[in-house]
Amino acid sequence: MSATTAPGHTETGKKLLLKGNELMVRAAIEAGCRFFAGYPITPQNEVPEYMSQLMPKVGGTFVQAESEIAAINMIFGASAAGARCMTSSSSPGISLKQEGISYIASAELPCVIANVQRGGPGLGNIRASQADYFQAVKGGGHGDYRLIVLAPASLDELQDLTMNAFDYADYYRNPVMILADGLLGQMAEPVDARPYEPILELPEKDFVLDGCKGREARVIKTLFLRPPKALVTHNMRLQKKYETIASELQLCENVQTDDAELVIAAYGMTARIAKGAVDMARQAGMKVGLIRPITLWPFPGPAFMEVAGTAKKLLVVEMSSGQFIEDVKLATECNIPVEFLGMGGGWYPTPENIFEKISAIYDK
């Protein structure tokens, strides 16, 4: 499968000024992504646009699908055929892809799915949002499955996590979601273009359907009717895999949490904005820190438990109305008071907003 997994061929070592969406495309292609199918939706339109420009240059395939549903199913096929592949969309489009994501998860096919979240429910708006948290980490499609969910907070990290996402997908044979938002997708900041290096020792793709020459015919399926317990057996094996992933892949960043009395919990762009508020609070003499999960699933529970043992209070900030906070409370087993600053979909906090909230609750 060398034609489809050979990495590289984008310029590395240069300082880039690209929008997040464009950078994600560059990183994906650098990591060997050779098949992309997608459908336009704001604020992720630069992804298919840039893919359509870059893919032909590396001998890859870009398909503008007739629908999000078709796009995710093209990914299902391309992954089964052995390609490193990716699709992207924004919230309403991800809802449409849920069916296919469930099938891909059950069939244990590797792929990368980016959600550049916008406001919802419904058509919502086209600004940034984090309101698809539940959908991403709890499974928006049917059945017991898990996505590995990565939440970058800067373009530099977006570049790294996009590349790593392909490795996680191949290593665990599981779909990986990059949970970005409209802010991250639309902003530009300087990034050093780095070359792709695999971070894991990747297994042989012994599931690929490429014709049964010299081997037994293979089947990729998600229907388990016979024997009666076939589905249970399959699902238990999946759960075991999820347990392995949960024990091996928890990424989290702590910022000044060692002496912090108040720790902000936030992820993605919200965490970055909150970091500005941490700086402001420290300058005002308040001991405030930040804990930021980088993997939303698996959720870095132990890291949160640790903070719950040292801080007096947590403040959850999210661009949604109370989704992420549930995982924070679960992870800390309600051992610590949790305050909340949420923004209903489609609007973002500023460092000043968060600082104001910190000031209001710090001594209470």
Binding site: M187, A188, P190, G276, A277, D279, Y348
Partner: protein
């Protein structure tokens, strides 16, 4: 330069606010400054107000969002109406007097006036009014070296539209001249 400068360039779609923002961002990048950039359009793709926002800083930047700009470069009347009231106290506003119909009303703002579209017209291409205004801003603040700006212009146009490098260079210098002479 202050620790962090939040800047907006606003005008009609088609007045080149995105290009101006891009050039400014690249020049900052060349000088090793931290920057973030965003572009937003009105709901309609053409004819509404488009704006390009840039945060420039010597340290890391928490948020790329510019809610209260320290600097606004406004190229038309709707943008003046929209951003004057939103500006941070004592901010700097550069207005294109060729396309605005009134004076700046807020007393706390520092105002730079430049008839950018007329100057661009005299140079032979009204579409470089954006760069004239940018030149006026830089001629006043000197936050960047002219050579960084010219380098950014060359980098941006050299591949696809090399013919536009010269006129953009001229526009930049003409804008800066207005400030020297003011």
């Amino acid at each position: 330069m202050t620790k962090e400068m939040k800047l907006v360039i606003a005008g009609f779609g088609g007045q080149g606010v995105v290009v101006a923002g891009n050039i400014l961002a690249r020049a900052c990048m060349a000088e090793g400054k931290n920057i973030t950039g965003m572009v937003s359009y009105g709901a309609e793709m053409r004819g509404g107000t488009a704006n390009s926002t840039i945060v420039i800083s010597d340290t890391w930047i928490a948020s790329p969002i510019v809610e209260k700009p320290d600097v606004a470069i406004v190229l038309n009347q709707p943008s003046l109406d929209k951003f004057e009231e939103r500006m941070a106290p004592k901010g700097l506003i550069v207005i294109n007097t060729s396309m605005t119909e009134r004076e700046v009303e807020r007393a706390d703002l520092e105002v730079i006036k430049v008839n950018a579209t007329e100057i661009a017209h005299q140079l032979g291409n009204v579409r470089v009014a954006n760069i004239v205004a940018l030149g006026a801003f830089l001629g006043h603040t000197h936050i960047l070296e002219m050579s960084s700006m010219i380098g950014a212009i060359e980098a941006l146009f050299s591949q696809k539209k090399p013919g536009l490098i010269e006129i953009n260079d001229k526009a930049l210098r003409a804008g800066a001249e207005v400030m020297v002479n003011a």
